[in-house]
Symmetry: C2
Subunit: 501 residues, 2 copies
């Protein structure tokens, strides 16, 4: 590597197809593809995208379910050197339009299931829709003969809700994805029989990271269109997969229907992320000696950043574990490194930490302190170096693995002319971990029913962000300078519903 400190690598899928062409790459309920076939499919899709005008460096949005076509799209954009902007299919057309606009995507790849939403999302925008099914029908194979990547190049932009309500585009480089795949590999090992069951969304970093691992490791992925606990159980019981990524609500639904059967030993890793795990659920997993790897991570760390291996589940119950090899964790209290067991801000440093927030210098600057990323979460390291996460990012509501920021929901409610002020909090929920609940005060003389308010939210917000209840109060609790006191809303909620938690 004489001429550059950070030289290029061969295109990952191309290299994988060269190294292990005949190995199984991807399986769905209907189809199986080897790496050679997957590569051919991706080259064809890349040909179609090139014909549609996609160039190296372009941002290209995608609104697709968990299909083979979607996976092929991910790889095709990588072959072209284009940057994929995967959009959450649960978002409202208005939210989607915002992210298409924010990312300057001039093409939106959509599947049939999301075609109607896609149409609404691009209304009035300079963005053409491409039907993913049409992509591979006519185009000549894209010639990627000399295609290489640089680890410093951007690969994907994933939008996350922000504390201010404005979604932030997390720019992840090829290097970020590479180091995540490699850190995870060192952490979990790799065997020839490994197969990862992907039933988390490909538009989230959790799903995307499985696609990256697949072509880097040469490991097949079983891709499910939609999470279905019965189907997942059936696959796992049949020894179909060795690894699965889940969030707590998925795992609970799976375990609710396993009956007395425990999963076979072929299942060697259940990667459990996406927020806090209820103690009762963890206890059941312990009782059944399930290979649970609790993890802590986020889009900004290209997925899994900290992991607790099963052998520590009992001894370090509640811990998220230790960082992946290329990462470091620091706890900061009062501007200094905290002592063991002393809570403080969780900072993360290392090669999987994202590059920057797209066109948002302010948010980027606020997120970094030198090379250290301020996660916004609170936690501590115990005397053995295990991380315990105490509080998620201030006010963040994690609902079924999805992030909901009160500010985002509040800003929609505050947009109603009848509403004077709105406040949103997260309430514990058996099914989803937490769900948003809103409180509003109305302008003088105005009237709106709870149902009407909820309908309004539904037109503008993803279903999981819509408050499950909206209470009308005479006035919201505020401090002397009239700032909303969200924490007081919890007591009000308890009083009004007589629910204790």
């Amino acid at each position: 590597m004489s001429s550059d400190a950070y030289p290029s690598m061969p295109q990952w899928l191309r290299q994988r197809a060269l190294l292990t062409p005949d190995r199984l790459a991807m399986e769905t309920a209907h189809e199986e593809l080897s790496f050679k076939q997957l590569y051919a499919r991706a080259r064809q899709a890349a040909g179609g995208l090139r014909d549609a005008g996609v160039c190296c460096g372009d941002h290209v949005a995608s609104l697709q379910g968990n299909t083979l076509d979607c996976a092929v799209t991910v790889y095709a954009l990588m072959l072209l050197g284009a940057v994929m902007v995967p959009l959450n299919t649960r978002l409202s057309p208005m939210e989607l339009a915002g992210q298409i606009n924010e990312s300057s995507s001039r093409i939106l790849i959509s599947d049939r299931d999301n075609a109607a939403t896609a149409d609404q999302a691009v209304t009035g925008a300079d963005c053409a829709i491409i039907d993913v099914a049409a992509l591979t029908q006519t185009a000549a194979l894209f010639d990627d003969h000399e295609a290489e990547i640089r680890l410093t190049d951007p690969c994907t932009v994933i939008f996350t809700s922000g504390t201010t309500g404005r979604p932030k585009g997390v720019v992840l480089t090829y290097g970020n994805h590479w180091w995540n795949a490699n850190g995870s590999l060192i952490n979990l090992g790799l065997q020839q029989s490994d197969m990862w069951l992907c039933c988390v969304p490909l538009f989230h970093v959790s799903g995307l990271s499985i696609l990256m691992k697949s072509i880097i490791y040469g490991m097949p992925v079983y891709l499910m269109k939609k999470f279905d606990p019965e189907q997942v159980n059936q696959l796992l019981m049949n020894g179909k997969a060795t690894h699965i990524s889940v969030v707590a609500s998925m795992l609970r639904r799976m375990m609710a229907i396993t009956g007395p059967n425990s999963y076979p030993s072929s299942l060697r890793c259940i990667l459990l992320g996406g927020g806090p795990v209820p103690t009762a659920l963890l206890q059941s997993c312990l009782d059944q000696q399930m290979p649970i790897y609790q993890t802590y991570g986020m889009s900004e760390t290209a997925s899994q950043a900290v992991t607790l291996p099963p052998e520590y589940m009992r001894k370090k119950s509640g811990s998220a574990g230790k960082p992946l090899f290329p990462l470091q964790i620091r706890i900061e209290a009062d501007g200094r490194t905290a002592m063991p067991n002393e809570p403080g801000d969780i900072l993360i440093k290392g090669l999987t930490v994202f590059s920057h927030y797209l066109r948002n210098k302010e948010a980027t600057a606020a997120a970094f302190e030198g090379d250290w990323f301020r996660s916004g979460d609170i936690g501590y390291l115990d005397e053995d170096g295990f991380l315990f996460v105490l509080d998620r990012r201030k006010d963040l509501i994690i609902s079924g693995g999805e992030n909901v920021y009160p500010a985002e929901v509040e800003s929609v409610l505050n947009g109603c002319e009848e509403i004077e002020r709105a406040g949103v909090i997260g309430i514990p929920d058996q099914e989803w971990g937490r769900v948003p609940v809103a409180f509003v005060s109305l302008n003088e003389g105005a009237y709106l029913s709870e149902a009407e308010l909820i309908t309004t939210c539904k037109t503008q917000l993803a279903a999981y962000k819509v408050p499950k209840r909206i209470f009308v109060l005479d006035e919201l609790p505020e401090n002397a300078s009239h700032k909303l006191l969200r924490r007081n809303l919890y007591a009000i909620y308890e009083k009004m519903t007589h629910e204790h938690y």
Copy 2:
């Protein structure tokens, strides 16, 4: 990673000791160390080296056998940010002095076994000897609290013989070692039960790379002081190790004494490198269904660069396989990329390729064509992308895994005042693959017996470089411009010995 495209990593051993402190790190016939203990030992040795004046960036030579102390030295120097220059213990004092001088090493770490040679090697040089046994006796632990590494920093300098006779110092960065470990990991997988038997020298990249893998993977190494086929077989038969690195001559000696027993299935990888493998040996391995991974690599690629997995041993017999994931191979014929099956120069590109030759701009420039490293070897890629190595670097004699360049031996012979001219070639040998044989013409009136000539060589050359036979000719074959015609020496050798090959 906001501030730098290539940020730092935690010190590997420190991170490993944090992540898996109690896991077994290293075992010898006499001792076992966990990663925590290994780390403590390395910090103590680093403390001793710091007290002896070793600073970050210094080149520090090492003349040690395969002992735990030697491994600790490797890690200690890494903690200090010093660059290790491991010296081949088989070299003559004169050769060693040359490499100490070439690398500006002002400290030579030696063990008892090599103390006498070390003394001779530093005579007259500005280089102090440190006895490795004394290193850990008094020093305070080195505080590496904030120690990090950059992948672009130099880590080791390994000398290889050069075509011109002048040894070249191959500068390998942390990144080179990292990418080799990771490429190998993707290639071979990783299981919790893995343990690598190291009976190749730690002063070669093959041994060094095992030490790197150990702390990156969290994998224990069984370190043998000296290769002993019986002992190795015993360890393998007892299921002690899952992986072993060997060269052909070692493997043949092992297999000669296994009798009818085949190795247990716990042995899942025999990494076979260091030059061509005789067909008969490969056939025996095939017959016994041994998990042979043939490899092609060199110091300049931080060890293993191309690997053939066992499932292709029959179908692609004689092939070195396909490149590690972060590497690419190109065959160049007549200045263009060769067609499949067309032989040409083997060029290698990627993240494990060395940085440069130490203080040797000319050799570095000659070795690189952009990012592509000219291996100097000849070979071809078949239609499936498998590499077949046809000829090793021009004139290179690989003897028992060690490189011998004719030019180096010739220059010693040419230094004798009785000798007019010398020519050296490599002759096939049952035991070592090839051995050097010399031809000399003497000055008028001079006389030297073969025994005298060999004795002269022994004082200046490592034993494996000393010609097994030295023939005195009236004159050596030369071309019109009086250049030595080495290839004609083969015919002369055949004629003189009646040996055919």
